[in-house]
Amino acid sequence: MKRIVINPQACNGCGICQLVCSACKAGQWHPAFSRIKIKQMREYNINVPVVCQHCSQPPCETFCVMNLIYQEPLEGYVLRREERCIGCRACEIACPFSAAVFDPIKEAVVSCDLCGGNPACVSNCPEGALFYMDEEQTADSKRRQTSRLKLIPSSAAGLSRRASL
């Protein structure tokens, strides 16, 4: 099951993802309509893209008073029946990621729907901060990163590879 995976170290805060998302989803060219948002911590020069994580037990689904949030049966995407939304915004507070976004024109809350399987933000990110991959790939890439670190000292120290056998 693929989800948007974020590499915050690579994000430079350019905001192209926000513009592309708002264009594709709301027909606007403005970050306010984007479902992916760049959060910044200027003191550390950190830029972090924040977007719906399509949780398996989405808190937003529990808090929705119109029961309009549901999980798509095949891939588990968390989707909304937007036409039912009365704009109460409870889901915005339920979401720990602030991934639920209030669209002031629609007067409804919207969130990332993964563009049906080909997220525009991922394909347009120039810095490689966004990936669309499944959990096995995510965990595997992290493990490879770690194991690389483990391998460096041994080769650098020149110790024989099979010293104790």
């Binding site: 974020i6 915050p8 170290q9 959060k39 910044q40 911590m41 550390y44 950190i46 972090v48 893209p49 924040v50 529990t62 808090f63 008073v65 119109m66 029961n67 039912r84 009365i86 704009g87 109460c88 915004r89 409870a90 915005e92 507070i93 339920a94 979401c95 720990p96 990621f97 602030s98």
Partner: protein
């Protein structure tokens, strides 16, 4: 296995949905005395305001239930539960069950004052109430009770063009949600819209011959043609009580952390139960749509044999007052009266917020004007992280980039 659910509200429907999600084979039967398909009680004030049609508040159709193989027996009132022989009796039928989930909810209370039964007295709870209010063609409305429902109803009727008088018994509006200062800010927002508000007022009688003509308080006489009572609810526990199930100190059906009642095959969830507050651990009633759904999911899983604990309730109430979002999360000073509370407050032209902490742990949060980042605070309240722990995490740039969920909330600390 046959599982019966009494109640077609938020809890009942979530219980049915969760049961079907985790078990495709069990037999699910829902009973409710109302004939309505499931509706959102929270959306009803929006209908009064004229923002949405009544039809939009209905959440399910017949086909949704049959599509999930859920049998519905709506319009049938359960008269008795026989715990020993495991059956329910309605006027028409006897239903045997293997497990029972009670989701009987609550109903608004109209105090037994003189005149409170006259035509023109209403509550806001079901689509029928809304239809009756609109049929009545209200022009001058008194809303008794300035809790969340009272305030939303007052704002809705005001939006409709009625003259609205909002009355509250305690010394401030929304006393269970907000502290005095934010309550006063919200009050002035409402008053600016033309809603008259008075606090520390208690209704004594409703006057009128054939229908409502006015309301008397201890201090004044108010002329009106409609009285909407939003002065509190009572849990629908008569069935449970009659059957011999234990009722708690606050009037709700007593359940343990597994949503099980005093009888091992009977579970309960929603407005009708009493659970515990997530911070204090004390018995609490959580009359929210979201609590009903979380409890129902837990009840359903436990029914199916999966031991799942309900973590306790944490209040989250949000409303848009004249277009301005206001949220109250967790406990306020009144709810934390047994504790030593530290308040972090901020007030400027754009927004107001206050953070209540006890022993360095966030216990409550109220904000007006902007709800950005409130989600992170909500989760911190439930998680129980101390402020110093949070600040320590914030100082770690390595960690903070993984805690994207937290960056927005950081501004409140």
């Amino acid at each position: 296995m046959r599982i019966m659910i009494v109640g077609n509200g938020a809890a009942g429907n979530q219980a049915a949905a969760s049961l079907r999600k985790y078990d495709s084979q069990c037999e699910i039967v829902m009973v409710d005395r109302e004939s309505y398909m499931a509706y959102s009680a929270c959306a009803l004030p929006d209908v009064l305001a004229g923002w949405i049609p009544l039809g939009k508040t209905f959440l399910q159709q017949e086909s949704d239930y049959s599509g999930l193989n859920i049998r519905t027996c709506f319009g049938q009132e359960v008269n008795e539960i026989n715990l020993e022989n495991q059956y329910l009796e309605t006027g028409e039928e006897k239903y045997y069950y293997d497990r029972l989930i009670l989701a009987t909810g609550s109903k608004p209370v109209i105090p037994p004052l003189p005149g409170s039964q006259l035509p023109g007295n209403f509550v806001v709870k079901s689509p029928a109430d809304i239809e009756q209010i609109l049929l009545h063609k209200p022009r001058k409305v008194v809303v008794v009770g300035a809790g969340n429902i009272g305030v939303e109803t007052a704002a809705a009727m005001n939006n409709r063009g009625c003259t609205v008088y909002l009355m509250e018994m305690q010394d401030r509006i929304m006393p269970l949600l907000y502290d005095p200062k934010p309550a006063a800010i919200i009050r002035s927002m409402l008053e600016k819209e033309g809603i008259q508000i008075s606090t520390s007022q208690r209704a004594t009688r409703v006057i009128g011959e054939q229908q409502v003509e006015g309301l008397l308080t201890e201090e004044q006489t108010l002329t009106c043609d409609t009285v909407i009572w939003a002065a509190g609810v009572r849990q629908n526990t008569e069935l449970a009580q009659k059957a011999g199930l234990k009722i708690g100190s606050l009037g709700g059906i007593e359940v343990d952390k597994y949503m099980q009642t005093s009888h091992r095959w009977v579970y309960a969830c929603g407005d009708c139960v009493q659970t515990s507050q997530v911070f204090t651990g004390k018995p609490a009633l959580s009359l929210l749509w979201s609590s009903a759904k979380s409890q129902a999911e837990a009840a359903a899983l436990n029914c199916l044999g999966q031991a799942v604990k309900y973590e306790g309730s944490c209040s989250l109430v949000i409303e848009e007052i004249t277009g301005v979002p206001c949220a109250a999360i967790g406990l306020n000073l009144q709810g934390l009266q047994d504790y030593e509370v530290k308040v972090i407050e901020h007030h400027d032209a754009d927004r107001y917020y206050r953070l209540l902490t006890v022993d360095d742990r966030i216990a409550g949060f109220q904000c007006i004007g902007s709800i950005e980042g409130a989600g992170a605070i909500f989760n911190l309240i439930r998680k129980g992280t101390t402020l110093s722990e949070v600040r320590r995490m914030l100082l770690n740039p390595q960690l903070i980039s993984s805690m994207a969920w937290y960056i927005d909330g950081a501004k409140y600390l």
